[in-house]
């Protein structure tokens, strides 16, 4: 029985074309892009190429892209870099209550450094309260950070509306978007949307792990976090990860090829899974269903069945998903998003996330649904009482 990988929001399988170019840059074109000789120039050409690809996709300038070690570094660089650059202008930083720890933990760090950080509330569906955001904004705000797509429930933030509010009420504030779950699923043009800083991660769209980028609008000023040899215009020192950057470029290019058809495919998978789950008893869907939410994430609670138990039972059948929340009997807390949307404990402890990529098929969704229908009665029979 073949594997069914439905944990693509955790990571994806790299495209074969990515492997090829990573191999090539490690075996043949292994030079240091800063070297003056031909080996260096050859290595640098891969970085140029990826810059071109990304600038075309984002409709951005090549110099607006900084390569990083991944989403977490991009988020750190954007938020800390903006806070340090803006600390004379103000002291407030806003973020949504359902951010990934790669944002919320950075905020907690900055809070200890003397900044004021405040969370914008979200509702049960993961929809952010624009009115609250509007009320929170004032000229003392130096940065607002929101996700584009929530990593656990696939809720989508109205980035354009947020940007408009921010630039109107806090004209000097920078707007950072964590687009780690959105890049490759939406056509994103930061300049049109009013985004100043935007994070993405290579391995979420079939690129290599340890790669990512931060878009920095050319007149947005942030301070670098990593100092050294002055690579990437001094914004991120350190010899560039040429194989990773090359692989990221190829992955991005391939992801945005036949893009609309791929997105339709993802939504077809999503709707098929949602419809199948809705036919089962005692299943609660989280986030935004159908086209309103992200195309690749479905999050459901199977009341009375612990997340991890269902996860391992599906694993046993070769189906890989993610637990919305870990163990219930140990004092482990509900996940950040489940807490933010105020999901009751019996739902958060039973939440499972299914996330797709273009490589999944409808047949896999059907097999997953029948596996779940088969497992639920057994798993529900045995529970703590």
């Amino acid at each position: 029985m073949s594997e069914i990988y439905l944990d693509n929001s955790s990571t994806t399988r790299p495209f074969p074309s990515v492997l090829d170019i990573v191999m090539k840059t490690m075996t043949e074109d292994y030079g240091n892009p800063s070297s003056l000789h031909k080996k260096g120039v050859d290595a640098e050409s891969y970085i140029r190429k990826t810059r071109q690809i990304l600038s075309r996709i984002l409709k951005a300038e090549e110099r607006e892209i900084i390569f990083t070690s991944g989403g977490t570094e991009s988020n750190n660089m954007a938020i800390i870099g903006a806070a340090l650059a803006g600390k004379r202008r103000g002291s407030r930083l806003l973020y949504t209550a359902m951010e990934h720890p790669a944002v919320s933990e950075v905020m907690r760090f900055l809070e200890k450094q003397g900044f004021q950080t405040e969370a914008i509330p979200v509702d049960r569906r993961g929809s952010i309260d624009l009115k609250a955001l509007e009320d929170m904004l004032d000229p003392d705000v130096i940065l607002v950070s929101t996700m584009y797509v929530n990593n656990e429930i696939g809720a989508v933030v109205p980035v354009k509306e947020c940007a408009a509010l921010i630039h109107q009420k806090a004209p000097d504030a920078l707007y950072h978007v964590d687009a780690i779950q959105a890049f490759g699923k939406y056509r994103i043009c930061p300049r049109q949307l009013g985004i100043d800083l935007m994070s993405a991660s290579g391995h979420k769209f079939h690129g290599p792990k340890g790669t990512g980028f931060l878009y920095v609008r050319k007149d947005a000023r942030i301070l670098p976090l990593i100092y050294g040899g002055g690579q990437q215009a001094g914004m991120r020192s350190g010899t560039e990860n040429v194989p990773g950057i090359a692989g990221l470029g190829v992955a991005a290019e391939e992801t945005y090829r036949d893009f609309d058809a791929k997105i339709d495919h993802l939504y077809a998978l999503k709707e098929r899974l949602e419809a199948g789950l809705m036919r089962m008893d005692d299943v609660v869907l989280h986030g935004m269903q159908g086209r309103e939410g992200a195309p690749h994430i479905v999050n459901a609670s199977f009341t009375g069945v612990g997340s991890e138990v269902l996860l391992h039972s599906l694993e046993d059948k070769g189906i890989f998903v993610s637990a919305g929340s870990a163990c219930s009997t140990h004092k482990r807390n509900a996940s950040p998003t489940m807490t933010a949307i105020g999901a009751p404990k019996e739902e958060s402890s039973a939440a499972v996330r299914f996330s797709f990529s273009e490589l999944n098929t409808e047949e896999e969704i059907d097999r997953t649904l029948s596996a779940i229908s088969e497992l639920l009665p057994v798993l529900r029979r045995y529970r703590a009482r």
């Binding site: 991890e308 138990v309 703590a384």
Partner: protein, 393 residues
């Protein structure tokens, strides 16, 4: 510079005629332990002492750390050795020894020589006096105190002269393997690795059994147990670990027996399985991490009930310990950080809100009797599908 350690052992010394058995066991454990670190080591047993001669690319910290993981060792003394010649050379050597090991000291001291080699012309007391005088002349800030010295210079006159004055504490106890072996019931918690460590400290070799309950417990929980066994094995040497798939037995109990008795009945079957593998491995007892009253299944009543499932002796080295005392040991032996990783273990998944705290054996046995149609087959399957492998430090 020194390249010899004198290994001091305590209780072994008083074991009468069996003494050589313990010494051999200790020398073997020292040898096994040092085989895995860099350097070459020669282990010599000599008149109630064990010497470790180090050569090659050995490292002081690494060697001491390895010896500190060998039960039976109470002290590790770095020994300087000098050529055996005349008393003038000895005076010079002791001064250079003090300069190296206790520079700028103003401590009180005593010299205590033992003349093992009777061909040496001076008697022990005369050597003490000569060398004490030499130290006083070279280090005027130091002074003699024969009753409560800060520093005791131990000298042994053999084919060479051995000098030491520092004792690094060892873990104590008795060498593993000198007292048979036992089957440890190892969970992912804090207590059972500590129990295993304590019983091993008394010279007992450890085998272990772990109850795995997929899909209710994950492979990570199993990996955690392997990691704990690895940490304990640093002291005990390789541990044979039996991983038993316990899910079906657990579900059968769930289906058939009163829910508040589930944990007790489950533990009785775990004990039976542990006993099975203990007999198979030639073990002389079962070891658990229980301590009285810690949870419902560890009250005196509960212990009677679980104990009654087996005939082999059950050792509970933590029986009188408070949780905080157990935690202290777990931290000391480096199992604590692994133990607190939050993975589900099979004792907790179906736990009742109000489990029995005073189970009555006859009542429990009546509940168990309801399993009679299925349990033999399930036990047989669990034993047959058990995965056994050796965990090395």
């Amino acid at each position: 510079m020194f390249h010899t350690y004198l290994v001091k052992y305590g209780e072994i010394g008083i074991k009468g005629n069996n003494r050589h058995v313990f010494e051999d066991a200790l020398a073997k454990q020292v040898r096994l332990k040092l085989a895995h670190i860099s350097g070459e080591f020669e282990i010599r047993k000599e008149r109630g002492r064990i010497y470790v001669e180090c050569s090659g690319s050995w490292d002081e910290a690494e060697t001491v750390d390895a010896l500190q993981h060998v039960f039976g060792i109470v002290g590790i003394c770095p020994v300087h050795t000098y050529e055996l010649s005349n008393i003038e050379d000895m005076r010079r050597d002791i001064v250079s020894y003090v300069a190296e090991e206790h520079p700028d000291s103003d401590a009180s001291f005593k010299v205590k020589a033992r003349r093992v080699n009777k061909e040496f012309p001076l008697q022990s007391m005369e050597i003490d006096a000569e060398l004490g005088e030499a130290i006083l002349e070279a280090f005027p800030a130091m002074h003699v105190d024969v009753h409560h010295p800060d520093i005791l210079f131990d000298l042994e006159i053999r084919d060479r002269i051995y000098v030491y004055s520092k004792v690094i504490p060892g873990p104590g106890g008795m060498p593993v393997g000198s007292n048979g072996s036992a089957m440890l019931c190892l969970s992912g918690g804090i207590d059972s690795p500590v129990a295993g460590w304590m019983i091993a400290k008394r010279g007992v070799k450890i085998d272990a059994v772990y109850f795995h309950a997929p899909p209710y417990t994950s492979d990570r929980a199993k990996q955690k147990v392997v990691d704990l066994a690895k940490a304990v094995a640093k002291y005990t040497g390789p541990i044979r670990l039996h991983v038993v798939n316990f899910t079906d037995i657990q579900l059968a109990i769930y289906d058939t027996c009163p829910h508040e008795e589930l944990t007790i009945i489950m533990r009785r079957y775990m004990m039976r399985i542990a006993e099975h593998f203990a007999e198979k491995d030639g073990d002389l007892g079962i070891v658990t991490g229980e301590s009285i009253g810690q949870v419902a299944s560890q009250t005196m009543h509960s212990l009677i009930t679980t104990n009654a499932a087996v005939t082999m002796p059950v050792y509970r080295p933590l029986i009188g310990f408070d949780k905080s005392e157990i935690v202290d040991i777990a931290k000391q032996i480096d199992t604590y950080e692994t133990s607190i990783l939050p993975y589900e273990d099979c004792c907790t998944i179906f736990v009742a809100k109000h489990p029995v705290t005073k189970p009555v054996l006859q009542v429990i046995e009546r509940s168990e009797a309801k399993l009679k149609d299925v349990i033999d087959g399930l036990m047989e399957t669990a034993l047959r599908t058990t995965e056994t492998f050796t965990v090395r430090p």
